[in-house]
């Protein structure tokens, strides 16, 4: 049934970049009524392999797509990358081959190749369903499936079918795909970053004439969008067949910036393969094998297939997260107070809080929220937030907490990645969600006028959920192994990463903090730091949120803090360093009665970033009976260590920031750095070793959301968390943090860490702040100090010779190549206190290479 142009299979020209000629093979399979069909395949021809990767390209690429994967293959892995018949350098058969035929073709090819051992299929684009069809027919042989930017079904809401229909309009299809190379060019243009000209040329090489492009049009035409399409049942059977493949290890790799296979398709596939690991390459798009280093994920994934999982199960049973509220369910003491400019603005008793949470949990279920659904909460710390979080927990939903500190762009990325089914927000956040197209069915915290409600697509309000839930039965409670929350890392050096916690991990965190600060029922707290706003309800003690802009910690005044302390006779204060700094500055504003209330504070906890002794001393001056503490930790595990002001003073200066001893139940070890700054050393707790801080604790994160590779790399050895911080233990067993691993300056004489030098330089009386970065290639870097003169300057530039001399005088034994001055140092927006060394380094690199000085 020949209808189109015919030509034999050939080898690609020898000049294509990245392609090894040794890989190229022609293989002939039998076909009825023909002399057979000849394929072009790339095959590294490893004999007796431990595993074979069967790589199946989509439309309009060819096996060239997999060249880097083949090049990176370990010695015992065979990689076979096929060119579909009528595609790439395989034979032009002149026939129209549909999905079911292509699956049969692939089976015939692997039979001919004699692939008998375990196979992992890898499919991209429309190669996905073909590879899955093969896996279903060769299930006993299938050891794993890897899919990227592909589909087995058109999910609701996708724009792809309309795009496909547009291309398939009569006259357009042939023109776009066959008569002209427009479809190929358009696909190549999707690469991020842009492909090199010679790589684009290699993709186009087998499709130089319309005779060679016929199958590109056939592929587009073969996508079933309606039930009467000839390939509809074939695709349906591939989709249904995934049920049989559920126990096969699966890896979904995704480039979310894909105009066709958007995140909706990832969601559809992960719904069908619930046990699949997912790695979503933020910033990458449709041509994922070009955009991202997929080999660096696929091979480690293969390697760990027969190993135990990265995370450990809890060893002890703990009380559920709502246990403390259960105990006070009849108590009419205020549980949460929100302060405003005029004093108390809103409050709720324990009794009402618990009742509201129960109603809300049932109301959420009534609305359609299911156990395991993700619910984003864009709600300010306070009563509403507490109710929403505990309600979600009680009915098994997973709360997604993307705080405003990430910035609008960061929040958008965070939400796109977490992909919540529901989004509860204050009206401003709802409006942003509508405008920015953030995912999730929208629930407003406040009543809205009907017109606005329609416009913003709000399906319910919190009040409606309360009333809907009041008469409903209580939903079943989740287990402590279920997922509970997703938070986000600050993302100083890239997009924010979602951090997943299960119930048992949050329970352990609650218990760790209770133990650390000896919290009992007689305590009450002020939460001037967002993440601790929940700590009251978690521990069953009254809490108050002071009058401040939560997203901007430095807006907290001494007066506002004192008013909050007085409202509950607080014994505990949680605040960020930026807030504490401002409290010291505004200390004059408090009244004598407030000052008296401040005497009742027993512990002042400053969290979020390292904090210096002078800041703590100034804050203690206002709370004379308090013991200032700083816990050390990160989004992934908190607390790790803790230090009091007294201990900070006793430790004195050293190389880095002393964060104290690891807290009870937390193991901390170091993995030493090599010459180019990689943490490769075995775990050690010896004093003097400088290395990456590795942590193991029951209250540690479960993993990163849809970032399998990131989770895997951060969990080495198994069960540990690699923090990315670099530090050492001193003789007394105290941990010192010297900076981020990415900020280590790798000099010819070894790694140099920034924090210790910064602190020494900042001791100069005319220096307000200092940042230490490296310039030059890894392993040969030079140390550069950027100082902020106390006297203030208008523009950055080189330091005068005398200042440079004094800075060098503070730094013993390390050659400082240059001392630069700047009006201020960039800090990360979320905490308003961590120096953005990556940005400073980029600037210093430019300036010290003779480039424009400009601004940091």
């Amino acid at each position: 049934m020949t209808t189109g142009p015919v030509s034999p299979a050939t080898h690609p020209p020898p000049t294509l970049v990245g392609l090894d000629r040794e890989w190229s093979r022609l293989v002939t399979t039998a076909e009825l009524d023909t002399t057979g069909r000849t394929w072009h395949v790339l095959d590294n021809q490893v004999s007796d392999p431990a595993i074979t990767l069967l790589c199946v390209h989509g439309n309009p690429t060819w096996s060239y797509l997999w060249r880097d994967l083949i090049a990176a293959a370990p010695a015992n892995v065979r990689v076979v990358a096929i060119d579909h018949l009528d595609m790439g350098y395989s034979e032009r058969t002149g026939t129209k081959r549909r999905l079911s035929q292509r699956i049969e073709d692939l089976c015939a090819l692997t039979d001919e190749l004699g692939l008998t051992g375990p196979v992992v299929t890898i499919g991209h684009d429309w190669g996905g369903p073909i590879s899955l069809g093969w896996a279903q027919r060769r299930q006993s042989q299938t050891a794993g499936i890897v899919l990227m930017n592909t589909a087995v079904h058109q999910p609701e809401g996708s724009r792809a079918p309309s795009l496909i229909r547009a291309v398939r309009t009569r006259g357009v299809l042939k023109n776009v795909c066959e008569t002209t190379p427009m479809f190929i060019r358009a696909t190549m243009a999707l690469a991020r970053p842009r492909l090199e000209r010679r790589v684009r040329g290699a993709y186009e090489a087998p499709y130089r004439s319309s005779d060679r492009r016929a199958a590109i049009a056939t592929f587009v035409e073969d996508i079933p969008l309606t039930e009467n399409h000839p390939s509809h049942s074939a695709l349906e059977s591939v989709a249904r067949g995934l049920e049989q493949l559920m126990d096969v290890p699966a890896l979904l790799l995704w480039g979310p910036s894909d105009p066709v296979f958007s995140d909706l398709y990832l969601k559809d596939l992960s719904g069908r393969l619930p046990r699949a690991e997912v790695h979503r390459f933020i910033g990458s798009g449709h041509l994922l094998p070009e955009d991202a280093d997929i080999a660096a994920v696929i091979y480690p994934w293969l390697e760990q297939l027969d190993q135990p999982p990265d995370h450990a199960l809890p060893t002890i049973d703990r009380a559920p997260l709502w246990a403390a509220l259960d105990e006070r369910t009849d108590d009419d003491v205020d549980a949460i107070i929100e302060m405003g400019a005029e004093g108390e603005e809103a409050s709720i008793t324990f009794q009402h809080l618990d009742a509201d949470i129960r109603s809300m949990a049932a109301g959420l279920v009534d609305l359609g929220v299911s156990k395991g659904d993700r619910v984003a909460l864009l709600v300010l710390p306070g009563i509403d937030l507490a109710v929403c979080i505990f309600a979600c927990w009680r009915m098994g939903a997973v709360v997604v907490l993307a705080d405003a500190g990430l910035g609008v762009r960061g929040m958008g990325q965070a939400l796109a990645s977490a992909d919540p089914a529901y989004l509860i927000g204050i009206p401003k956040a709802i409006a942003a969600a509508r405008t920015m197209g953030w995912p999730g069915v929208r629930i407003s915290t406040k009543e809205l006028p009907p017109s606005q409600r329609r416009l913003l697509g709000v399906v319910a309000t919190l009040d409606e959920l309360y009333s809907r839930g009041r008469e409903r039965p209580a939903p079943p409670l989740p287990s402590s192994l279920d997922e509970a929350a997703i938070g986000f890392t600050s993302g100083a050096t890239g997009p924010a990463k979602g951090v997943v916690y299960r119930h048992h991990q949050l329970q352990a965190q609650r218990d760790a903090i209770i133990e650390l600060y000896g919290i009992s029922a007689s305590d009450s707290l002020v939460a001037a730091f967002g993440p601790f706003a929940l700590f009251g309800p978690l521990t069953g003690i009254p809490s108050v949120v002071p009058d401040m802009e939560v997203t901007s910690p430095s807006t907290l005044t001494a007066e506002a803090l004192a008013a909050a302390v007085k409202a509950v006779n607080a014994s505990l204060v949680f605040a960020s360093p930026a807030a504490l700094t401002n409290i010291a500055v505004t200390a004059d504003g408090i009244t004598p009665e407030q000052a008296e209330a401040m005497e009742g504070v027993r512990i002042l906890i400053s969290a979020g970033a390292p904090v210096s002794a002078p800041v703590l001393q100034a804050a203690r001056a206002l709370m004379p009976n308090s013991e200032p503490h700083t816990p050390y930790g990160m989004t992934e595990v908190m607390p790790v260590a803790d230090i009091s002001l007294e201990e900070i003073e006793a430790a004195g200066p050293g190389n880095g920031v002393c964060v104290g001893h690891p807290t009870n139940g937390v193991e901390v070890m170091l993995s030493a750095l090599d010459a180019v700054g990689n943490a490769v050393g075995p775990l050690s707790d010896e004093s003097g070793v400088v290395g990456e801080v590795c942590i193991r604790a029951p209250h540690m994160r479960d993993g990163y959301d849809k970032l399998w590779m990131t989770s895997h790399a951060a969990s080495q050895p198994t069960g540990w968390h690699r923090s990315g911080d670099v530090g050492h233990f001193d003789e007394a067993g105290r941990l010192w943090i010297e900076g981020r691993i990415g900020h280590v300056v790798t000099t010819e004489v070894g790694p140099v860490t920034p924090v210790g030098i910064e602190r020494c330089v900042a001791l100069l009386t005319d220096v307000a702040d200092a940042g230490v970065v490296g310039v030059g290639p890894l392993g040969v870097q030079r140390v550069v100090v950027v100082v902020v003169p106390r006297a203030g300057i208008r523009r950055p530039g080189l330091a005068a010779e005398d200042l440079a001399d004094r800075v060098r005088g503070q730094v013993d034994g390390i050659d400082v190549a240059a001392v630069l001055t700047a009006p201020s140092l960039p800090v990360d927006k979320r905490h308003n206190s961590k120096i953005d060394r990556t940005r400073i380094a980029r600037w210093a690199e430019r300036v010290l290479a003779g480039g424009r000085v400009g601004r940091i």
Binding site: V780, G797, E801, A817, A818, V847, L848, G850
Partner: protein, 324 residues
């Protein structure tokens, strides 16, 4: 070891001779003017083949320091000294059966004008080298390396900006300009540049001579390993001479264009006088050039003994003694 050192009246040549002499090597020298170093002297020009052959005869090792370093001048002069001169010395050394040959070159032989940031010692490239000096040194270096054989080990040392007490090149020129109020900072003055203190450069050459049999055919950049912003280097030198640090600033683009114009005029006038600026100098002062020293230090088994700050102290003392 019988060693011939050429260019012994130069700062680094004299320092090498002193070191070899003091440790007991049989040193002889070859240059145009008497060196007064108390060793056997041959006077002559490296372009004079017969004179070179006479001086080199009988040497077991040659340290070839002589060269013409200038930012201006006609190509023929550079070629005579830096290309033909090298050929004469290399061939005479081969002729007499010398086993070691250390050739002093310049990092500019591999510099195409862009910033060098932690760069390794690239291959000499006469096509892309900037200006007559760098091009002639590149040709000379390639010739010297081409003579490396199992009977004569040729090692190339490229010191980057040698300075120290008594330096009539870098230090004297900078100080003269500063005195005349003509020393300008190009651009921001922040480009990091490597330099090398004279004693360290001489030590590196002696180390190269000692390790030559294992290093034949290789070229090494040698520096103090302490790059500094160019403004700081200039300021430290000027301050050592008891002067105020430079305040005059010229934007990089202006300096480069101006330098090109000056070169053109000087070339037409046939002037031998030091020009105020050349495009090569503008690039040297306006772009970063500092180097990866790991391979150099490992191969030569050499470390700079004098740090920059020690060097600047010595320079200050020297200027003070000059004034007294």
């Amino acid at each position: 070891m019988r060693v011939l050192v050429t260019g012994a009246t130069s700062l680094v040549g004299a320092a090498v001779v002193t070191r070899l002499r003091d440790r007991g090597d049989a040193v002889s020298v070859f240059q145009r003017r008497p060196s007064e170093l108390g060793v056997v002297e041959h006077l002559g020009d490296v372009a004079d083949r017969a004179a070179v052959a006479g001086a080199v005869a009988g040497a077991e090792a040659v340290v070839h320091v002589a060269g013409l370093a200038s930012v201006t001048g006609r190509w023929e002069r550079f070629e005579a000294t830096n290309v033909l001169g090298v050929r004469n010395v290399v061939e005479a050394a081969k002729e007499t059966g010398a086993e070691r040959f250390v050739h002093v070159s310049s990092p500019s032989v591999a510099h195409s004008g862009r910033s060098l940031v932690g760069a390794p010692a690239g291959p000499a490239d006469p096509e892309r080298a900037r200006g007559h000096y760098a091009r002639s040194k590149a040709q000379g270096e390639l010739f010297a390396l081409g003579a490396n054989s199992s009977s004569m080990a040729v090692v190339v040392i490229r010191p980057h900006l040698i300075w120290g007490p008594g330096d009539t090149q870098l230090v004297a020129r900078i100080v003269d300009r500063a005195r005349a109020g003509r020393l300008a900072i190009i651009g921001s003055g922040a480009s990091l540049i490597d330099t090398i203190y004279i004693d360290n450069a001489a030590d590196a050459l002696v180390a190269a001579l000692d390790r030559a049999p294992g290093l034949g055919g290789r070229a090494f950049v040698v520096t103090n390993g302490q790059p500094r912003p160019v403004r700081e280097v200039l300021a430290r030198i000027v301050m050592a001479a008891g002067l105020e640090p430079p305040r005059l600033k010229v934007p990089y683009g202006v300096a480069r264009v101006g330098g090109t114009a000056v070169e053109w005029i000087w070339e037409r006038r046939g002037s031998e006088e030091e020009p105020p600026m050349t495009s090569f100098l503008a690039e040297q002062l306006g772009t970063a050039h500092w180097f990866d020293q790991r391979e150099t230090r490992q191969a030569l088994e050499w470390e700079p003994a004098v740090t920059l700050s020690e060097g600047f102290e010595r320079l200050t003392d020297w200027f003070a003694a000059q004034r007294a």
